[in-house]
Amino acid sequence: MSPVASNPPQPGSTHSSVIRNFCIVAHIDHGKSTLADRMLQSTNVVTPREMQSQFLDNMDIERERGITIKSQAVRMPWQVDNEDYVLNMIDTPGHVDFAYEVSRSLAACEGAILLVDAAQGIEAQTLANLYMAMEHDLEIIPVLNKIDLPAAEPERYALEISNLIGIDPDDILKVSGKTGEGVEALLDRVVRDVPAPSGDADAPARAMIFDSIYDTYRGVITYVRMVDGKLEPRQGIRMMATGSSYELQESGIYSPDAIPSEGLGVGEVGYLITGVKDVAESKVGDTVTSKQHPAEEPIGGYREPRPMVFSGLYPMDGSDYPALREALEKLQLNDAALTYEPETSVALGFGFRVGFLGLLHLEIVRERLEREYNLDLISTAPNVIYNVTTEDGTLVRVTNPSEFPEGKITEVDEPMAMATVIVPSEFIGSVMELSQGKRGQLSGMDYLSEERVEIRYWIPLAEIVFDYFDLLKSRTKGYASLNWQRDGSQVADLVKVDILLQGDAVDAFSAITHRDRAYGYGVKMTAKLKELIPRQQFEVPIQAAIGSRIIARENIRAIRKDVLSKCYGGDISRKRKLLEKQKEGKKRMKMVGTVEVPQEAFIAALSTDTDT
């Protein structure tokens, strides 16, 4: 007997008692996508022939990095005891930058599969998402994956999980996404353990948006979970947070391709299309209701996207500025969390100050701009938001070192984060040493098992944004996993360090740093620039300064010899061509005052390195 549903319930008219909404909480590389693929195959939603590996991740970058950026939802039929069920698998972003998106995806579910690599054990991000799932009262189904691996230690990690969530280790399912072993049992388990949705079918419609994407042909596609009531095409709908109204052009589900439906009923998961072109019109967490019979209360938990990391993006070639603006506009259609505003830099020309959810978000956006829009970019060192109070009581919000007020400052407030690190216990010392060096305060430590420890630090967000994770990885031989969330702020002794070339500050190199670290930054940056900037016809002092106080200095000595000594008959064309090449090279120089700085110097100086 095939467990696949023979006559599955239709979208729009599915009774909520047979619906199971669940997601998979997993660490990168723990096999979520492979397991999801297997489920699609087991439920015949995708035939093996159609199977494109890792079906759910459809952006190139996601596939390359093995990270799910945009969540999706797939409807799968499944039979248990001759009863037809509908399983909605909601894919969640796996990265800390997208914590809010994760929370909305979790809020759309009643259950979560906790997927853990049987060779590696639980990691910090998974733990954070697990706690979030538990806060949402989700039914947790723990699963050990990759049991086919020779290095798998299912018993050991089962014990670890059981310590964490307090269940019998024997109740933990063991599967292999690769071979398919245990996958059908898991689907059965989802039907049995995950509660059916509990909304009110007769109440005014309320649907929670957990994702929205921009499609070139269809406009914005909004993913929703129906909480109460029903929505049908051609009816008027209203977004409760933004207040805007539309006509619902189409509703449907993915299985795995889009299938239009007569509507979406209570408990169902699917998509809505209204014809709007901008994802900002369809915000994650917002509640969709009926225009005629609106609900009174929106679903709780909505929040505006909040960029936490800022970086200046500049086109390498100034004439690409309009192209960069256009590319950002297009990206924003698909990424409501992306914010930007024009900015000019003396050194880098015209560009944008772009706000991101985190470092990964920054990297992804930058990579998409370069890859999909063919732009060569310089990005300045990432920055968090500081609130600076000046002596006269003015509060200045600083997202860019150039906004740091001159003159006397009463107080600088910096954003903090709670960082959770999971490491093998032998690395406790290294993690503590690093975190304290990064101005972190230990807030707790728990042994997950004898060998693995969870360490929590309250630490400036700026440190995380800068190089904390890179250093963490290198000091723990790659074993550490990190999760963090914004957690308050603190007053700190922060200063702006300027880098001066020939006495002129180069805005692109300014940084806000703790006073104790300012000297180190100054020494490192001036030394780096000395290597990177070619000798000029005059001496060029490179200084690091806090206000008018010089804290570090290097000198680029004047060039003394700039002549090719030989010039025979045959050398004339050759020498001329050499000069013509220098003329071309000159176009790639940026003038800072009278100093010629090659583009490469900016890039190399701004790229963060881990040699601290």
Binding site: Q537, R557, I559, R560, K561, D562, V563, L564, S565, K566, C567, Y568, G569, G570, I572, S573, K575, R576, L579, E580, Q582, K583, K586
Partner: protein, 418 residues
């Protein structure tokens, strides 16, 4: 860059050449390349070969005949193109090591050139020589055959420096060869290289002392350029030797100027000094000046470059390829260009500012008025920065100062507006 369609293989020169050359005061010189050496020096990237026999027409024995063939070809091509022959202003045999060939071969080539073009009474006729490749008889033979100048590759008088350069000669041989050159009544120029890895400032001073003791008429001193693809470049990359240091070369250049000037040698080009204590313009190399003054010359031999009134071309590089074209009676030229106006302007500036006689702003203005204006404005700045002579500028000449000579390429770039 303008490319011309007619391949140089026909030997026919475009019409503008005859128009510019005939009746003008452009001088005509001859360069003869001899592509043979007894060994290759580690720093050398010249077109030269160790094997004495590279194929028909490209062996020590047959090369003179091949070169003569090109001389005849040149005379014929000029005649067919309507370019009136002019007596040669200078002749220069370079290499490689021309003196690896018997003197009789070199003088035979020279005689044929005389018959085809005529040689000016005052013409400078030079051959390069390696101290080890000379003999008293050979030197006398050159003098008897019409040569009046020998340029000897001395490079350094310090053994460990010569070892890094892989020069095979014994420093003592230079003294003997110099004596023979003197005996034969020839002018003598010495070629030097400074800034070789491992050469100290004292080493270089010793070389300068040795040079002055020999009382040459002319000195060329080049800062070592590590050319890509040479053995020396590979050795530096592998860390066998340290790289050359521009500051070290600057110090040595200043020392060179100081010592040579004190001994009556006057610089007339960045890397060239003539013995001329009373500033009468004596002993300057006429042949090299022809290059820098943008005159005309025909380059004979593999890889040789030629220039006629703005047309540049160059021969097949490998001696065998070159010789086979000559034997088939087709032009050995394999590439050519007519630099466009911008390129010509850049050449003019680049060559002019290397010379003590300077770049003439009026001449520049005749070529491009706007460019000359822009150069004059920049020249005022350069003068205040001490890079060019203010007194010369008042007479419309751009002449680099000692400091400016070391930054000559920067002067060129700024005058050319980039």
């Amino acid at each position: 860059m303008n490319k011309i369609d007619t391949p140089p293989g026909t030997g026919i020169l475009p019409d503008f050449v005859a128009a510019a050359v005939n009746g003008s005061d452009r001088t005509f010189s001859l360069y003869v390349h001899v592509p043979f050496c007894s060994s290759r020096c580690g720093y050398c990237d010249f077109n030269t070969y160790i094997s004495p026999d590279l194929g028909p027409g490209a062996s020590h024995e047959s090369y003179a005949d091949t070169a003569i063939k090109e001389l005849e070809f040149a005379a014929d091509a000029m005649e067919k193109s309507g370019v009136q022959p002019k007596p040669l202003h200078s002749v220069f045999f370079g290499g490689g090591t021309p003196t690896l060939l018997p003197s009789t071969d070199l003088t035979r080539i020279l005689k044929r050139a005389d018959r085809l073009f005529g040689i000016d009474d005052t013409a400078e006729i030079t051959t390069e020589a390696n101290p080890d490749s000379l003999s008293r008889e050979a030197v006398q033979g050159l003098a008897d055959g019409g040569f009046n100048r020998v340029s000897m590759g001395m490079q350094s008088s310090v053994s460990h420096v010569l070892q890094v350069l892989e020069r095979t000669h014994n420093p003592d041989n230079v003294d003997i060869a110099a004596e023979w050159i003197r005996e034969a009544g020839l002018d003598m120029s010495l070629d030097l290289i400074f800034g070789t890895p491992g050469e100290s400032l004292e080493d270089w001073e010793r070389s300068l002392d040795a040079v002055l003791a020999l009382q040459p008429d002319h000195v060329s001193a080049y800062g070592l350029i590590v050319e890509e693809g040479t053995k020396l470049a590979a050795q530096i990359r592998r860390g066998v030797y340290p790289n050359t240091d521009p500051d070290d070369q600057a110090d040595k250049y200043l020392l060179t100027e100081e010592r040579l000037d004190a001994a009556g040698y006057r610089w007339y080009e960045i890397s060239n000094w003539a013995h001329d204590p009373h500033n009468e313009g004596l002993h300057q190399s006429q042949h090299n000046l022809a290059y820098w003054r943008d005159q005309d010359w025909w380059g004979i031999g593999p890889g040789a470059h030629s220039h006629m009134a703005g047309l540049r071309w160059w021969n097949a590089k490998h001696p065998a390829a070159y010789a086979s074209r000559m034997l088939d009676n087709i032009s050995p030229a394999i590439g050519q260009e007519i630099p466009d106006d911008d390129a010509r302007l850049l050449e003019k500036i680049m060559l002019g500012v290397r010379l003590a006689e300077g770049l003439d702003l009026d001449v520049l203005a005749a070529q491009d008025k706007d460019a000359a204006m822009q150069a004059r404005r920049e020249a005022n700045v350069l003068a205040t920065q001490g890079l060019i002579e203010p007194a010369a500028l008042e007479h419309g000449k751009i002449v680099p100062t000692l400091k400016g000579r070391l930054l000559d390429d920067a002067i060129t770039r700024r005058l050319a507006g980039f």
